[in-house]
Symmetry: C2
Subunit: 313 residues, 2 copies
């Protein structure tokens, strides 16, 4: 499946969807597509939004997207939900959300629910973001259930990372303390009409005061009630303030370099394995060795050494 | 750091800890260690316990471990918490939990919080479980914050997977529907003294009735109040019932084969990249290329092709 890049760059939704499907499936012409996409990227503001299940991420993302749209921006949304890998539910969900957001060229939403054979959900997500950037979206929002290690990596690739909490999750703030400290450029306490909002804010503030960010940024805490569309403008302002801040310092290039390095390692790993598995009869020997391991006739480490030795012969 | 395997097989805690540190860091002698460990594995019952933050997984795991211990079993616990990658908090947490569980040879607890340079948290966790198995623990419990893709993979490698929910998370059950359907062999509704327990149970039952498991197992739903030590015996019984069930059918070998295949691909990917990065000057060219990408002078896909071409020359 080859994607017409001119239509992609013109922001044509069908071409965008096909391009994302291509990077998701790791199709052989993905490399060519991404080489064409790359020079067109770097214009969009990429916003990562993460938080535990139940904090109201989707509502918040939808309201923020509508806010941007109403202010004349084109908004792309990528939802990463690896917990539903084999369902059609994600696609149905996209359609429902698309209907809420308004069916026009200025909003695009897509779930990345499938995981390729060789992993690569994080790589595919980063590619999908680049596609939306190249397709002329001003803001690209990446929404992830943010507690897994790949999800954390994905959020790190955004220009601005937003961590969403709800009141009454004190213990969990403690539990995900270190992760939050590193990831969040902006914090949101959503469902701010609930009991315990002040306590959550105090806890968060005291945790943040213990953190020492290399860039000395002091992450703002924004209160929202997404379902009632409250606090969205404040969130937008907080995101913009960090965006302006990080563009001033040297941190921006360093961050981009770290992302590039991570992306490079992901791609290398994927390609190295793909090259090995594309060799003759790979599916058969892989199956055979897996059976041997399952029957405890060989251990996985010895099996890997045998494979690599025979490959290099 | 080489690990004395005889002491490891005798269940000596310090050797176990050193062995796990070795697989975690991906030390060069890991392969030799794991080759020695592998033939001693296959005796322990491996239980994966997963659920969103705040459902009370740790309390549940502690109480289940105490229950097993009181019934004469030796219990190993591996906690996977990738959201706190750089903190000493995990180790402190282990010590606190160890104190609760009783400081003796029959319980071992360890957090896997660090992530190696080349990824591999899932591989390291699977290795750590094998180490505890070889060290003579009767039950090995793997506790993960279960919404990330790697975390899902880890839970799949257990003999019995337990998904923990709490009342009043109706929306979230819907959200993680597909994931839950595939992973859970046993479901727990913890904090069962809370309001809404009946509704959560009904919702879960109706979701489960829609699922079609290849093995036709009907996952039991167990209610617990972990903090009050209630329902733990029922949980133990439910775990055992699935363990007996899955050992009867052909599914067990197929499952082991699927796990072996996944483990093989993980190891291959890690080794292929490690071999490339261990070549002369790799750190320098990686750094240089990352800088070029960050400055948008080259795209990551072209960079990867250049690297692989020059490697094969």
């Amino acid at each position: 499946m080859s994607v017409p890049v001119d239509r992609l760059f013109a922001g044509e939704p069908r071409s965008i969807a096909r391009a994302i499907t291509s990077v998701e499936s790791g199709a052989t012409d993905t490399a060519a597509l991404m080489k064409a996409v790359f020079p067109k990227t770097g214009r969009a503001l990429i916003i990562g939004i993460t938080g535990a299940p139940g904090v109201g991420k989707s509502s918040l993302v939808d309201k923020l997207a509508l806010y941007y749209k109403d202010n004349g921006s084109r908004v792309g949304i990528i939802c990463v939900d690896p917990s539903s890998p084999f369902s059609g539910g994600a696609i149905l969900g996209d359609r429902i959300r698309m209907a809420t957001l308004g069916l026009d060229k200025n909003v695009f939403i897509r779930s990345m629910a499938t995981r390729g054979n060789l992993g690569g959900l994080s790589r595919a997500t980063v590619d999908a973001v680049a596609i939306l950037d190249a397709a002329g979206f001003d803001k690209v929002i990446v929404e992830t259930v943010g507690v897994g290690q790949d999800e954390v990596e994905i959020v790190k690739t955004a220009d601005v990372s937003v961590v969403v909490l709800v009141p009454g999750m004190g213990d969990d703030i403690q539990a995900i303390k270190a992760g939050i400290m590193e990831i969040g450029d902006v914090f949101v306490i959503n469902k701010a009409d609930r009991e315990g909002v002040l306590r959550t804010q105090k806890e968060l503030e005291s945790l943040l005061s213990l953190a020492h960010r290399p860039d000395f940024w002091n992450p703002p805490i924004v209160k929202t009630i997404a379902t009632e569309n409250k606090g969205i403008e404040g969130l937008s302002a907080a995101i913009e303030s960090y965006n302006v801040f990080q563009k001033q310092g040297d941190a921006s290039l360093e961050r981009k370099k770290a992302i590039a390095k991570w992306q490079l390692l992901e791609l290398l790993q994927e390609r190295l394995l793909a090259d090995l598995l594309n060799s003759n009869g790979a599916a058969e020997w892989l199956d055979e060795i897996a059976r041997e391991i399952a029957k405890k006739k060989i251990d996985p480490y010895s099996a890997v050494e045998e494979i690599l030795t025979s490959k290099n012969r």
